[in-house]
Every structure is written in structure tokens, then in C-alpha cells.
Amino acid sequence: MQSLEAFRNEVRIWLEANCPAEMRLPTRGEEDICWGGRRWVFQSDAQRLWLTRMVERGWTVPTWPKEFGGGGLAHEEEKVLREEMGRIGARLPLESFGISMLGPALLRFGNDAQKRDYLPPIARGEIRWCQGYSEPNAGSDLASLQTRAVDHGDHFLVSGQKVWTSYADKADWIFCLVRSDADAPKHRGISFIMIDMTSPGVSTRPIQLISGKSPFCATFFDDVRVPKQNLVGEINKGWDVAKYLLTHERESIGLGPTALGKRSLVDEAVRAIGRGADGRLADPFLRADIARTEVDAWALALTVDRFRSEAEFGHGLGARSAVLKYCGTELNKRCYELMMVAAGISGLEWEDAHSKDGALAREWLRSKGNTIEGGTSEVMLNIIAKTILGLPGA
């Protein structure tokens, strides 16, 4: 391995030459994210070019093995790449649940053919994945899920309903938890399978949220034929895959963008409320609330750093991901509440060009789901109480 400093230098030069100027501007929101997939329409030539170039280097998934479309980087090198991208404000060339969730699960539990067939299209942004976990009667008690997979020799027949499937209407494939043994104890009758969304019998219906938007769908399976080679890991051992993947999901929610990454609470408040003669925010109560929030946000950011530093390279955060998920999402909600207080009456706008159709109000409402999706705050606290503190079961 070349020295890290030599690698940093190489990365810096390459990024300078290859990252289009447009891709160094801050993302303005959902519309600037490149998700990829069969039906993907690039928003700009720069977005297409940036993805193509990064795919050539394997840097859409820097730590995956080269044979599967990755960059084969060590974790120290990946850190350098992220730092250098951060330095010039380079956007991620591609985001997807294939990268953040399915990929790590396949690398750990998939067989050789699955890795060969499914990982490279994820790395290249050709196939967009969605996640089929929750069901109408299986939320926090996920393991009680009822979508059935019945063995028919060389294939399963899958029937049932998933809910909160993010972007199911835009995805090409779905990875799903299904009940493959109805008689076994609930954690031991679950399997993890991959289903092509174009299979006959799959349909989706968008769910309108309180924010007025529909990032989620209900997904229906009506006797969908799924080849047996789409099973990941062993039959009836899908819960192990699911748990591993949930840790990744929590980590990415906990470490992911927050209100403070997207908007500056302080700037919004100063713009809306103004300053007193002493230069302080004119509303002393709001100022105190924001100051305490800033203290907490700072301490959380440092904790993310510390957990990352303390985790051995290449290992996940384990139960600590529940700490970050809980604190990060609760803080995010608090930030949006304060932004709404700062925005006051103007924050109530909903369909108005000058408020970008009530962007703040819609983000505020959307943030309420943060402490529910990917495991509720209460489930996170259960995990911490049992796994970290060792408190006895009820």
C-alpha cells in the first residue's frame, strides 16, 4: 500500500481534474441527489459525468472489492477520499439503499453468484433498490411480519403487504423479509429475499405524508414468483441478515444529514428575528433555547467523531449506532421546532412561491418521522438498556 500522504495527493489531483464545478455546489435538496436506476433521468450533464468518472475509479463504493465494482480501498484510504471530497465540497456521485444497506449485507451473507450479479450494478448506479421490512402489523415488532413465501420447488410464491417502502415506485428491485416457516418461533421463520419489481403480481401505492409528499409506498405482493437463487443467506435465517442491515441503516440515519447540515438554525433565527442593540438575538428565550441546542449539537458531532475513532477500522459501531440514531433524530426534531418558532407566521406558508411551497414547514413535518423510521426512539432505548446497560428483561 502506498503511503497515505501519497494517496491523498493522488486523490486531490484526480478530484481537481475530474469533479465538475457544478458538482461542488451544495445540494439544494432531494432534487440534487443522484439515485441511479433503470429509469433514472440525470438532472444535468455534470451529474452524469461525475457518476461515470467515479464509477470508473470504483469510488461510488470505495471500500468494496474491485471485482464487484468497488475501489478496493482500505478504511484509512476511504477516510482520506471522504476528507478530500469534503474539502472541495464534492457531492456524493450516487446514493442508494443498494450502497448503504443491501451491499454490505450481500458482502457478508451473499453467495459468490449473488455478489457477482448484484453488486456491480449497484456500484454503477444501474439498479435502484428499495427495502421491504415493515408491514401494517409489524412495526416496532418487526419479527412478527406476515408476508408469506411458500416453497414451490425451484421458486417461492410470495404474498402479502409491505409498508413504508421508500421510493418503491421508483425502484427496480426490492430486498424483503418474508415468513418462510409459519410454525417456527417468530425470529426463526424469516428469510431474506430479493425480488424484481417488474415481476407479475408486484404493485405499489404511494402514501401521502403529513408533509404533503410521498417518499414512501405501500407495496403489495400477490402470488409473486421468486426464483430460489434470490434467497440471501440460509432459509429461515433472514433475521441475522436483517439485524446486520438494520445496524447499517441506523448508522447511516444517525450519521446522516440533519437539520443543521441543511440549514443553519442560527442564521435562520437571526434573519427572522433580528438582533438587539447588544448584537444578541432579539428574542432572549429563543436565543437561550438555540444556545442549548447548539451545545447539544456540538457534543453530538464530537460523539460521532469519537465513536468513529474508537471503532476499529472496518468494524461497525454495534449497539452504539442506537445511541447516535436516538440522539441524532431527537436533536433534528428539536432543531426544526426551533426553526419553526424563528420563522413564526412566515413558517406557516404552504403553497407560495416565495416560501418554495412551504419548504420549511414540510421539512419540519417530515422530521417527525425521523424518530420512528429505522427503529423508533423507544426501540433504540430498549436496545441501549438491554445490550449496553445489561438491564434485565421485563
Binding site: 444556545a291 447548539e294 451545545v295 467523531d305 469519537r306 438498556a385
Partner: protein
């Protein structure tokens, strides 16, 4: 990297070993109940000095080990877990910082080797009113003779009752409310006109009140610059705030761990009370808050090691967080211990008292949150 080095982990381990043996909480209780005149164990302090603790922030040429603030913070945390009475915070953290960054070479030579050897105790005298507010300093220096005469009062002077010298914040110009016009003086105890009264405070920490009745001082006693002592004072208080934040982390973590153990052993309704979700969730929330505090304290210590003159915002963040988390931790600890927590026999009350006093020392959560806000420009 926001993590401890192997050397730092080793320091914390050796501190744990020594303090478990020589200074359990029962030792602190004995000193409190006996109304001990010194208020700490001088033999133990000598041992700590032999191990390099007293000189943890003193440079090697002056006899210290110069282990840095991360090390000092770990020692503060470990001592606070056992409520160890010692001059560590006042002398090894606060006064050593004052001399290191503000002392003349004569002052350094006179005091730093003595501090590192555990032979001198030096105390900071800054507060006067109900709340920590350095700008409000009213203790006045009146020019006269070869120097000044000091008149006024100081409160909450940690280890003041046994100090050999004091670092005193004095108004030499301007008026109370101004940060300009402050000067720090290094004054030996026993100076004529200086009265030292030990004060008994809620957490039984060693504290004194000082009365300055026209105490004569000359120019050689000035620490740093005349009228422009505010910057040096800020560095000293940054160190003090982070030291107290590290102490509060110790108090918080100890109260929490004892509470978790209690939740597992105490049975009601035929099962351990720790099996009740109402308590589990509160405990888990508190755990998260303590993790945040641990990161804040470590980052603030690292910032002080990198550059104490610019560490103010992180120091304030850490102190604000520490005061808030400590209050939550000891409140939950007491409530979860039930009636036992209200008794003096159980140590939880001692941690609660220390958390309250620590929150106030060198600025409370509001004082420091205000500083964070001003740093962030609002």
C-alpha cells in the same frame, strides 16, 4: 483523533488503582465528619505529587511531567468519582495554568517547582458576587507607596484556607462590568491585611472567603499585564471550567453506574426494578447524555492542549453540557434509589451536592451557553 492514547489510558488505570486503595468515598466522609482543619490528606497529596500528578501541567524544566490537559482531565474525573479531597484542581490545574501562561520567569521559578513537588498550594480568587462574572470584579487596587493597596472581598476560593499564595483578579481601571481594567496579582498568604476565613459549603469542598483590607502589593506581584488581565484570566478560567467539567463527568458517571447496579439488585413487585421499562428508558437516555458529555470533555481537553488561548468556545460548551448532564444524572440517581437516596448513609446525596456546587463553579450552564452563543455570533 478524538480518543485516548495508550499512555492516557494507562494514566487513568493507575489513578483508579491508587485512589481505590487510598481514597474511597469513606475517606472524604471521615474528613467531612471530623471537620478536619486541613480538609485533605497531606500524605496522599505527596504520593500524588510523587506520581507526577501535581506537575501534570508543569513543564519539565520546572520539575513537572507536562502530561497535558487530557491527562489532567482524566485525573479530575477519577478523583471526582471518589470525591477525593485534594488541591489538584486549584493548584495543579488552575494555578499551574496561570503561572505557565502569565508568570514572569521569577514567578515561575519560585512557584512551579514547588507546585510540581506538591509543596505549594496556590488558589484562584475570582468570584465576588452571587454568580460567576469576572467582568463584575470590584476588588480594587488603589495606587499607593511602591505599588498598590488592595481592598475588597473574594468568595468561593477553592483551597483558600490552606493556600500558600493566591492568584487574585483585581480591578485596576474601569468599573465593574468592564473586562478591560483587570489585573491579576500573585499574592502570598500572610500578607498584612489579608484575612482568610474557611467557608463550609453544601458539598463540603474546601473553600474560603478572602477579605482584603488595604493589602499592600508591589509591581513584582503582577501576573501578566496591568489592566489587560482579562485574556490571561480567560485562559485560566478555560482550564478551570474544563477541569470542573471533567470532575462533573466523574460525578455523573459514578452516580450513574451505582444507579444501574442498584436497578439490577433492588427488587419490588417480585422482580428487579431495572426490568421496568419506565426506568430502563430513563437510564438509557441518561447513558446517551453521558456519552455526549464524555466527548465534550475530551474535545475540550484536547483543545486546551492544542492552544489554551483559543479553547474558550469548546471549554464553555463542555462546561455547559457538564452542568446540565450532571444535574440530570444525580437527580435520576436519587429518584431511582428511592428512599435510600435520601439518606446520608448512601453516597448519592454526596454526588448530588458536588454536582450542584460544580455547576456553579467558574460559571453555570447559562453563563457558558451564553458564551457559546456569542462565539457563534448570535
Amino acid at each position: 483523533m478524538l480518543m485516548l492514547t495508550p499512555e492516557q489510558v494507562q494514566l487513568a488505570d493507575s489513578a483508579r488503582g491508587l485512589l481505590d486503595e487510598r481514597a474511597p468515598v469513606s475517606q472524604f466522609r471521615r474528613l467531612r465528619d471530623a471537620r478536619d482543619a486541613v480538609g485533605f490528606d497531606r500524605d496522599l497529596w505527596r504520593t500524588m505529587a510523587d506520581m507526577g500528578w501535581a506537575g501534570v501541567l508543569v513543564a519539565e524544566p520546572y520539575g513537572g511531567v507536562d502530561f497535558g490537559f487530557v491527562g489532567a482531565g482524566l485525573l479530575c474525573e477519577q478523583m471526582a468519582r471518589r470525591l477525593v479531597a485534594s488541591p489538584f484542581l486549584s493548584t495543579a490545574v488552575v494555578a499551574a495554568t496561570a503561572l505557565r501562561w502569565g508568570g514572569s520567569s521569577a514567578q515561575k521559578s519560585r512557584w512551579l517547582p514547588a507546585i510540581a513537588a506538591g509543596e505549594a498550594i496556590v488558589a484562584l480568587a475570582v468570584d465576588e458576587g452571587r454568580k460567576h462574572d469576572p467582568a463584575a470584579t470590584a476588588l480594587t487596587a488603589i495606587p499607593g507607596g511602591n505599588g498598590y493597596r488592595l481592598a475588597g472581598e473574594k468568595v468561593l476560593v477553592i483551597d483558600g484556607h490552606v493556600a500558600d499564595a493566591f492568584v487574585v483578579a483585581v480591578r485596576t481601571a474601569g468599573r465593574p462590568g468592564d473586562l478591560d481594567g483587570l489585573t491579576l496579582f500573585l499574592i502570598e498568604s500572610g500578607s498584612p491585611g489579608l484575612n482568610v476565613d474557611r467557608t463550609v459549603v453544601v458539598d463540603s469542598r474546601n473553600v474560603a472567603r478572602l477579605r482584603f483590607g488595604n493589602v499592600p502589593v508591589d509591581g513584582a506581584a503582577v501576573l501578566g499585564e496591568v489592566d489587560r488581565g482579562a485574556n490571561l484570566l480567560e485562559v485560566i478560567l478555560n482550564a478551570g471550567s474544563v477541569g470542573v467539567a471533567a470532575e462533573l463527568l466523574g460525578v455523573t458517571a459514578e452516580a450513574f453506574e451505582r444507579t444501574i447496579a442498584f436497578l439490577k439488585e433492588r427488587h419490588q413487585f417480585g422482580r428487579p426494578i431495572g426490568s421496568f421499562q419506565a426506568l430502563q428508558h430513563r437510564a438509557a437516555h441518561l447513558y446517551c447524555e453521558i456519552e455526549m458529555l464524555r466527548s465534550a470533555v475530551l474535545a475540550a481537553c484536547q483543545a486546551l492542549d492544542a492552544d489554551p488561548w483559543t479553547a474558550g468556545p469548546l471549554a464553555s460548551m463542555a462546561k455547559a453540557k457538564a452542568a446540565a448532564v450532571a444535574r440530570l444524572s444525580v437527580s435520576e440517581a436519587l429518584q431511582m434509589h428511592g428512599g435510600m437516596g435520601m439518606t446520608d448513609d448512601v453516597d448519592i446525596g454526596l454526588f448530588m451536592k458536588r454536582a450542584r456546587a460544580g455547576a456553579e463553579l467558574y460559571g453555570d450552564a447559562n453563563f457558558h451557553a451564553d458564551r457559546v452563543a456569542r462565539h457563534r455570533g448570535f
